[in-house]
């Protein structure tokens, strides 16, 4: 039996990966925001839905670059704080957490130490229509902590410890167990 919950029934959306978006301002100060409204779009591009009123938006426009990092339990408190406080109100919000960052070797944006997996992005374009506003980043490099690679050098989702934001309960949730194989489970219908 299906129950109608209305247009706001999904709150801030279904559970999605929590991300840290890292940028520099014009003084070289690191700013980080917490974002889960992000998806792969065209091949090799990430689309971030973030408002123009954000410090991150201003920084991306000025620097033309940003990083997107997965968040694991070791960074959960910091990532949560980045989602609570604006970089406009607290310009040293990153410094307050005690985290360190190094400049990406590929783009003008910071890589936050301790991140399991980081996408280094160059601003491709800012898309704006009457109903839609998004920052499109082209992936210039993917950088992973060695601990999240398997013995063949491939990324292992479980090893990243990546967290999801569950807006139904306002919780952070881990990824669970493998449930099946893509492009295999459905073969019985082919």
């Amino acid at each position: 039996m299906m129950k109608d919950l209305g247009p706001s029934g999904a709150n801030y959306g279904h559970p999605m990966p929590v991300l840290m978006v890292g940028t520099y301002d014009e003084n070289g100060t690191v700013d980080v925001m917490n974002l889960h409204w992000c998806t792969m779009s065209e091949d090799g591009h990430l689309t971030l839905c973030l408002g123009e009123i954000k410090k991150t938006h201003e920084n991306i426009k000025k620097m033309g670059a940003f990083t997107v990092a997965l968040v694991n339990p070791s960074l959960m408190k910091e990532a949560d704080y980045f989602g609570i406080m604006s970089g406009y109100k607290v310009p040293d919000k990153f410094a307050r957490t005690g985290l360190n960052a190094v400049k990406s070797a590929h783009v003008n944006a910071p890589i936050i130490e301790g991140s399991p997996l980081v996408y280094e992005c160059e601003l491709s374009e800012i898309v704006k229509t009457g109903h839609f506003h998004a920052v499109i980043g082209k992936i210039i490099n993917v950088v992973a902590d060695e601990s999240v690679l398997d013995e063949n050098g491939r990324l292992d989702a479980k090893k990243t410890g990546m967290l999801l934001f569950d807006s139904f309960s306002n919780n952070y949730v881990t990824l669970g167990e493998k449930a099946g194989e893509a492009w295999k489970e459905g073969r019985k219908y082919v």
Partner: protein
């Protein structure tokens, strides 16, 4: 120690929820595609990066409506199949699975029986730029199977049994455990 994997390591992106996109064909039959490139926007809409050459895209442009459903273990074979073949070469792909659908009461699109959570959408616009295209939709209603609601009538993400597509290993993965609380764990830095 961080390791550079290059831009191609991006592949199909980091793990994201697997979704079924349901539309009607010209003759009223049902088409369903498998999608993980979808996010809520900061304005509260849904942005679905559906390939412009897909049958779903054609249907969405013609009907100006579609449904997005989370996928659980009971639907894994079917949704994997929906991601394996296209509705152009297999117009009866939905019928082949033996699944049933009924028309949404709110939009001109099908709700697939057995879906734990369905977002009923009305097309706002198809956004096209040089490096980007997305189907932008207004959420008209969220319909949940009663079994996924907690005792206060709220959606329980674990009860949905939702699955994620992990492009690192081409696997489907379940949701894991709660590890923290949003807008709470970061308060120590305030």
């Amino acid at each position: 120690m961080m390791k550079n994997l290059g831009p191609n390591a991006f592949g199909y992106g980091y793990p994201a929820p697997v979704l079924m996109v349901g539309t009607y064909n010209d003759d009223g039959t049902v088409n369903v595609m498998n999608l993980h490139e979808c996010t809520r926007t900061n304005a509260g809409h849904l942005a679905c990066c559906i390939g412009p050459r897909s049958k779903t895209h054609e249907n969405v442009e013609k009907r100006r409506a579609f449904t997005i459903a989370l996928v659980n273990q009971n639907l894994i074979k079917e949704v994997d199949y929906f991601g394996t073949v296209t509705g152009y070469t297999n117009p009866d792909k939905f019928a082949k699975t033996g699944l049933k659908a009924e028309k949404s009461q709110f939009v001109n699109a099908p709700i697939i029986e057995g879906s734990p959570l369905v977002i009923e959408c009305e097309l706002i616009e198809v956004v096209y730029t040089n490096n980007f295209t997305t189907v932008l939709a207004r959420i008209v209603n969220v319909a949940a199977d009663e079994s996924v609601l907690d005792n206060r009538g709220r959606i329980d993400s674990h009860k949905t049994g939702m699955l994620f597509f992990d492009a690192f290993s081409n696997s489907y993965i379940a949701l894991g455990e709660k590890v923290g609380t949003a807008w709470s764990d970061g308060k120590k830095y305030l």
